[in-house]
């Protein structure tokens, strides 16, 4: 415990645990001790309070054996638990530090290795373990021993008290029985004696009775007897001590001062059944031998006597004492055994502890040996010699440490080796000096430079050996002061050094470093010196060269400009001033090449940048005006320059400076400019001609003197080929078939002195044939004879090809016209026929020739189908001229030559010239007599079908209509009846009668309207189309189907706008469509609940000039049938339907240029149709 405490100082180990709570936890062992002590008090108090079986005092100071044992056990447990917590916490804590924080794990080692051992009173680990085990085992055995002894003792006590109780009870019984019997016998004896001796005196009688009583003995060994006394305290009978008879013992006291006789007389008087009395009585009259006695006393009624008997209680104490001595012997024996066990267990514990400590010790010894060795050499711990995991871990860590140290040492050695190598190889004089200037290290380079051997100078004084005499003392002083810290170290300086041969060398010393030991004292210096003797010499030479070069440059006629790396002009030569005409001071150190705007505008900047990038460049000739620059504003003159720019590179290849040299070429440039201008005039003239211009001699080969550049494009051969006929003559590339002709025409023209024009083919270099146009003329020279031929040659290939294509197209067109199955003819603006194809001519019965040039309208379009004349002004063919549109007509007739006519369909298309101006028209036409007939038939058929469908709708409406007419009829009848009644009764208000008559009238009209609507609906031939309001049509329609709607209990809703939606349509047909759609909707809703039968009719206009009408039902929808399929004729889903309703509807709507389609809505189906909005003009 103490050991654990001394090793553990929470504040030191873990400064974070400074809180009170943590301290309590860490010291839980001691807290437990306190708690245990507290427990003793509290438990006693609680026991006294709860069970109320004794005072606190008794509980605390005189507890029973069991209580002591229980409390001890609990206290022991509490204390053990506390220390267990404390130690386990400590172990955990140490482990935590081990893992987390490296320095903590090192602490034990440093504690062992350092002087800590001597300073602190530490204990051997083995001893601690031994003590711990010992204390634990001893406490266990002692606990057991105490428990056993306590147990034995309490058992013995119990037995004793039981024996006592038994004994007392038996004694009491015996006494009581005997006394009761004695008293009975007193009475008996008295009467017996009196009957025997009737006149016996009372005293005698008593005497005789007492004599008998004194004979009575009982108890073990018959030693108990009866004694009798009177109430005055006088002893009357006493068998054991007859000498006491007659004496008064009223005041007699026992060993403890109890007045025995008085007590006995009190009991006899007060308790007729008798009572017990315990007292101590000594036979020998000494209080020390007083023995406990028990007596039973009972008064004898009527005699003023008491009879008693006494028993000796000490017999039982003897029994108990015997038992106790036996018990004691047993316990002693037990204790001896316990001692033996303790000794044996101590032995065992000692052995185990020894065994454990030996193993731990061995591990520690290994570690101790290891650490001793580890400081000097690298050793490893053998894992197999370790007994415990902890030591194994420790050994692994230690091995790891050694391995790491080895690596670190190797790295250190390597770096040291490298350092030395570096120092010896470095091309610098390296020397290390100690405080006094003694040389401790020199490298090979220094030896090479000075010519010394290493052995000669190592240990020698640096200043004596190497420093020239005049500097020696000064430098020595400085060195000393620097090392003492009095002077600041000079980073770099140059001084002279003596070699062995006495030669002086300039050395640039640098980086003089101090060497520090671990204590931080200055112990010496290291110097690196560069031999700069040669360099100094070279610098001198360089300076001379430089001077020479500068002179040269200064005198040079060429202009030199020097610029630094930033573009600043740093130097120029004299020629510079001559060139620009202003002093150099204006620009030197002012003008910046890279920032000058003028330079950039002149386009020089790219070249300059190249030069700065390290490239020597020649700048093309250019003109520069210095007066524009800010530095030389208004000065200087414009010059043409030929310029080269060179970069001047440093040793490393970097550009250091840039040199610009100029050559003044202004004069040359001016001369060139003049020559060029004169040439340009002529050149531009020629170059604008889109053809070849040539001049050739009039000789046999037409030797070419000049030919313009175009020739290379037009022929593919270069100009040089033709000049002086160098490679070929121009004639040689003329197509073979044209050669002769061109030559002939040319010659003829020359002879006649006229210019000539030719079109001929040439063979282009790429193999194609080109058409050329040539125009030329002879030039009469000074000799008044034709000397040259001048001419122009143009390429006309494209024109020629276009002409060819046109010709071909004409032929094709003619062929088309002649073979076409339709009649085609053309018209000019006057309406006269310009061409007509044979088919057309045949159809109208004229010959082609007869028609050409004739007015077509008068010829074949003069009369309308109905015989009325057709004015030319409204003829669609001619309208084409006016509006420029194509007109399609299919309801007119053309007239034949023989006066008959035929229905035609024709298309009149305007002909436009290239500017888009109409210059005529082309009419194509077809004889459509057959088609007209079939169309007529189809229409008739369709009308019939439509009518049939209408009748079918009608049939469906009939019953509804009947009801619809029935309503007004019923009303009429009732009104009339009411009126009649009123008239008959002659007692009426005229107001009522008027109402009745009014009703009759209104309802008759209502019925009439229904009938009229119906009739118009059934009519087969419907009226001509007219402009109607679709909303009205829908409302009328609903009147027709109202009956049907009522029958089917369907609701109908209208969603139509208040303003009219006008369409141009046949009312009856649209009505039919709407009725049919409503009927379809009703049929579709037959299967559903009447309350949900709803039809919605919507009408509205759309953005694209249409009116859309939708019939929305809530029936079963399209039910999977394709929205297109339901419009097929004879397709039906109804058992009785013909399947033509919707297909007829579709055709009716299409007749009105509308569309009918079906789609599913949320509930049922929607049928929509569209019809174009009536144009305003048609109204």
């Amino acid at each position: 415990m103490t050991n654990g405490e001394s090793n553990m100082d929470p504040k030191q180990e873990c400064p974070r645990n400074s809180k009170f709570g943590k301290i309590i936890v860490l010291k839980s062992g001691w807290v437990a001790v306190a708690v245990a002590i507290l427990f003793w008090f509290i438990e006693s108090a609680l026991h006294a309070f709860l069970f109320d079986d004794g005072s606190y005092y008794q509980q605390f100071f005189r507890p029973t054996v069991n209580e002591i044992w229980m409390r001890s056990l609990v206290m022991f447990l509490i204390i053990t638990l506390g220390f267990c917590i404390q130690w386990s916490l400590k172990i955990l804590e140490m482990r935590k530090f081990d893992q987390k924080d490296f320095p903590f794990s090192l602490k034990p080692f440093s504690a062992i290795s350092d002087s800590a051992i001597s300073k602190r009173s530490t204990k051997s680990l083995s001893k601690v373990i031994f003590m711990a085990m010992l204390s634990v085992s001893i406490s266990c055995i002692l606990m057991f021993g105490v428990y056993w002894v306590c147990d034995e003792w309490s058992e013995f006590n119990d037995q004793c008290s039981m024996i006592r109780a038994d004994f007392l009870e038996s004694q009491e019984n015996t006494l009581k029985t005997e006394i009761d019997r004695a008293i009975d016998s007193i009475t008996f004896w008295r009467s017996a004696i009196r009957s025997e001796y009737p006149d016996i005196s009372e005293d005698l009688l008593k005497e005789k009775v007492f004599a008998r009583l004194s004979q009575i003995t009982f108890g073990p060994d018959n030693e108990y007897f009866i004694f009798v006394g009177d109430y005055d305290g006088t002893e009357l009978v006493n068998r054991k001590s007859p000498h006491l008879i007659g004496k008064n013992f009223w005041e007699m006291e026992d060993a403890y001062g109890v007045k025995v006789f008085q007590e006995e007389i009190r009991i006899a008087k007060s308790r007729p059944e008798g009572g017990f009395l315990t007292y101590f009585w000594s036979e020998t009259d000494s209080d020390a031998d007083a023995e406990p006695k028990l007596s039973f006393v009972r008064g004898v009624p009527g005699l003023q006597l008491f009879v008693g008997a006494g028993a000796n209680l000490n017999t039982v104490e003897d029994v108990i004492a015997a038992k106790e001595s036996k018990e004691r012997a047993h316990v002693e024996q037990g204790v001896v055994v316990l001692c033996v066990v303790v000794f044996l267990s101590l032995l065992i514990v000692f052995l185990i502890a020894c065994w454990l400590t030996v193993r731990i010790r061995r591990s520690f010894d290994i570690f101790a040996l290891f650490f001793k060795k580890a400081s000097t050499e690298s050793v490893n711990i053998d894992h197999s010699q370790m007994y415990y995991d902890e030591f194994l871990d420790l050994a692994t860590s230690a091995n790891q440490m050694i391995a790491d140290r080895k690596i670190a040492e190797a790295a250190l050695q390597e770096s040291e080796r490298r350092m030395r190598e570096m120092l010896s190889n470095v091309q610098l004089c390296t020397v290390m000096l100690d405080k006094d200037g003694t040389i401790t290290y020199v490298n090979d380079f220094l030896l090479k430079t000075t010519g010394y051997e290493r052995d000669e100078i190592l240990g020698g004084n640096w200043f004596d050996l190497f420093i020239p005499a005049e500097l020696r003392e000064e430098i020595r002083g400085v060195h000393k002061e620097v090392l003492c810290g009095k002077l600041e170290m000079v980073g770099q300086y140059e001084s002279e050094m003596l070699t062995k041969s006495g030669e002086r060398r300039s050395i640039s010393w640098s980086n003089t470093l101090f060497l520090h030991s671990t204590k931080g004292d200055t112990i010496g210096s290291t110097s690196f010196g560069e031999d700069v003797t040669e360099r100094k010499r070279a610098e001198e030479e360089l300076r001379e060269i430089d001077e020479r070069f500068r002179l040269m440059m200064e005198q040079s006629p060429a202009v030199f400009e020097f610029y630094d790396i930033d573009g600043l002009q740093i130097n120029v030569n004299k020629a510079y001033e001559e060139l620009w005409g202003f002093p150099a001071s204006h620009t030197v150190n002012k003008f910046n090449l890279l920032e000058s705007k003028e330079v950039e505008e002149t386009g020089l900047i790219d070249y300059i940048k190249k030069a700065y990038a390290g490239q020597a460049v020649t700048v093309p000739e250019y003109e520069f005006d210095p007066s524009g620059t800010t530095e030389a504003k208004g000065l200087g003159r414009k010059r043409w320059l030929s310029t080269r720019i060179y970069p001047l590179k440093g040793a490393s290849g970097d550009v250091k400076n840039v040199v610009i040299t100029h050559e003044d070429i202004t004069e040359r440039k001016q001369a060139e400019e003049e020559a060029k201008q004169s040439q340009n005039k002529y050149q531009s003239l020629v170059s604008n001609i889109p053809g070849i211009i040539y001049r050739c001699k009039l000789d046999k080969d037409w030797t070419m003197l000049y030919i313009s550049n175009e020739v290379s494009q037009l022929t593919g051969y270069p100009v040089s080929d033709f000049i002086n006929n160098a490679v070929r003559t121009y004639e040689s590339i003329v197509h073979r078939d044209d050669t002769e002709r061109t030559a002939r025409i040319t010659n003829e023209a020359i002879e006649s002195g006229e210019p000539w024009e030719l079109e001929y083919r040439i063979c282009h270099k790429d193999g194609t044939i080109r058409w050329h146009y040539e125009r030329g003329s002879a030039v009469i020279g000074e000799s008044n004879k034709v000397e040259y031929l001048d001419g122009v040659i143009l390429d006309i290939t494209e024109r020629k090809e276009a002409e060819e294509a046109l010709k071909r197209l004409n032929q094709q067109n003619q062929l088309l016209l002649n073979t076409a199955g339709e009649g085609i003819y053309g018209l000019d603006l006057d309406g006269n026929t310009t061409f007509i194809n044979p088919t057309a001519a045949r159809m109208i019965g004229w010959e082609v020739e007869e028609i050409i040039g004739k007015n077509q309208h008068e010829l074949l379009h003069h009369t309308k189908p109905d015989g009325s004349p057709y004015p030319a002004g409204v003829c669609p063919v001619y309208t084409t001229y006016k509006d420029g549109n194509t007109h399609h007509v299919d309801d007119e007739v053309f007239w034949r030559k023989d006066g008959s006519c035929f229905p035609v369909e024709y298309i009149s298309t305007p002909i436009r010239d290239e500017h888009g101006v109409i210059e005529g028209a082309v009419v194509t036409f077809k004889d459509i007599s057959d088609r007209k007939q079939s169309e007529e038939k189809q229409k008739q058929h369709h009308d019939e079908l439509t009518h049939a469908s209408r009748l079918s709708s009608m049939g469906q409406m009939a019953s509804g209509l009947a009801h619809e007419i029935n309503q007004p009829l019923c009303a009429i009848a009732s009104f009339a009846d009411a009126g009649l009644r009123m008239l008959k009764s002659k007692r009426f208000k005229s107001q009522d009668l008027l109402e009745a008559m009014q009703g009759v009238s209104t309802q008759s009209h209502r019925a009439g309207a229904i009938v009229k609507n119906l009739r118009s609906f059934v009519r087969k031939k419907s009226a001509e189309p007219s402009v109607v309001d679709i909303c009205e049509v829908i409302k009328n329609t609903i009147i027709l189907v109202q009956g049907q709607l009522n029958q089917k209990q369907a609701k109908i809703e209208l969603d139509i706008p208040s303003e009219p939606l006008l369409i141009h349509a046949n009312t009856v047909k649209i009505e039919q469509v709407v009725i049919n759609l409503i009927q379809n909707a009703l049929e579709a809703m037959e299967q559903i609940d009447p309350a949900e039968r709803e039809i919605l009719i919507k009408a509205s206009s759309t953005d694209d000039e249409m009116i859309i009408v939708s019939v929305v039902d809530s029936g079963k929808g399209l039910d999977g049938i394709g929205p297109l399929q339901i419009f097929d004729p004879f397709f039906t889903t109804k058992e009785e339907g013909m399947g033509i309703g919707l297909s007829i509807n579709e055709s009716l709507i299409e007749e009105h240029n509308g569309k009918l389609w079906a789609e599913d809505n949320e509930k049922g189906a929607t049928f929509n149709f569209t019809i174009p909005i009536a144009e305003k003009g048609n109204r």
Binding site: S974, S985, D992, A996, G999, Q1003, Q1049
Partner: protein
Amino acid sequence: MIDPTVYIVDDDEAVRQAVGLLVKSCGRKVETYGCAEAFLEGYDAAKPGCLILDVRMPGISGLSLQSMLSEEIISLPIIIITGHGDINMAVKATKAGAIDFIEKPFRDQDLLDSIERGIAKDLQNRKNFSGQAEYAKRFSTLSEREKGVLLLLVEGKLNKVVASELGISHKTVEFHRKNVMTKMDAESFAQLVTWAVQNNISE
């Protein structure tokens, strides 16, 4: 007594007006309604009268209205008029208690006769109903013995039989019977029996 009212329910305004005028011309009070809902809202069940009802109407149909009215304590007599009646409908309506089924257009006399019949029936119904209520009130004033006598008598037993069954004299039975007649304020014994059977008083 309040004048009986003729209610006309028809969705067709003209018919409604015409029939109304006709009925009015006979001096009857008329109330017309465009649909069943309006009628249910407007009519007073306490007033006597009869109802002329069109079958086909939007919303609640005539037949539905009829079945709704039949659940009332005193159902109005109903005359069905229809524009497109069929036999099925007529049977249905009559079974449901319509007193007549007239097809449009009708002769005025037919309708007026039906109306008179209807009103008479309604008045009778109402009178019966109030008479029964009175009887029930009086019945509660009878003593137990009187009730017992009445019950046995209603079963059709003679005074003699009743007397022997109840163990009382013939005369006493006659006395009780007279008391019952007085207390019930019945005009005749037959009337009492009819009422008793109608109201199932033996239970």
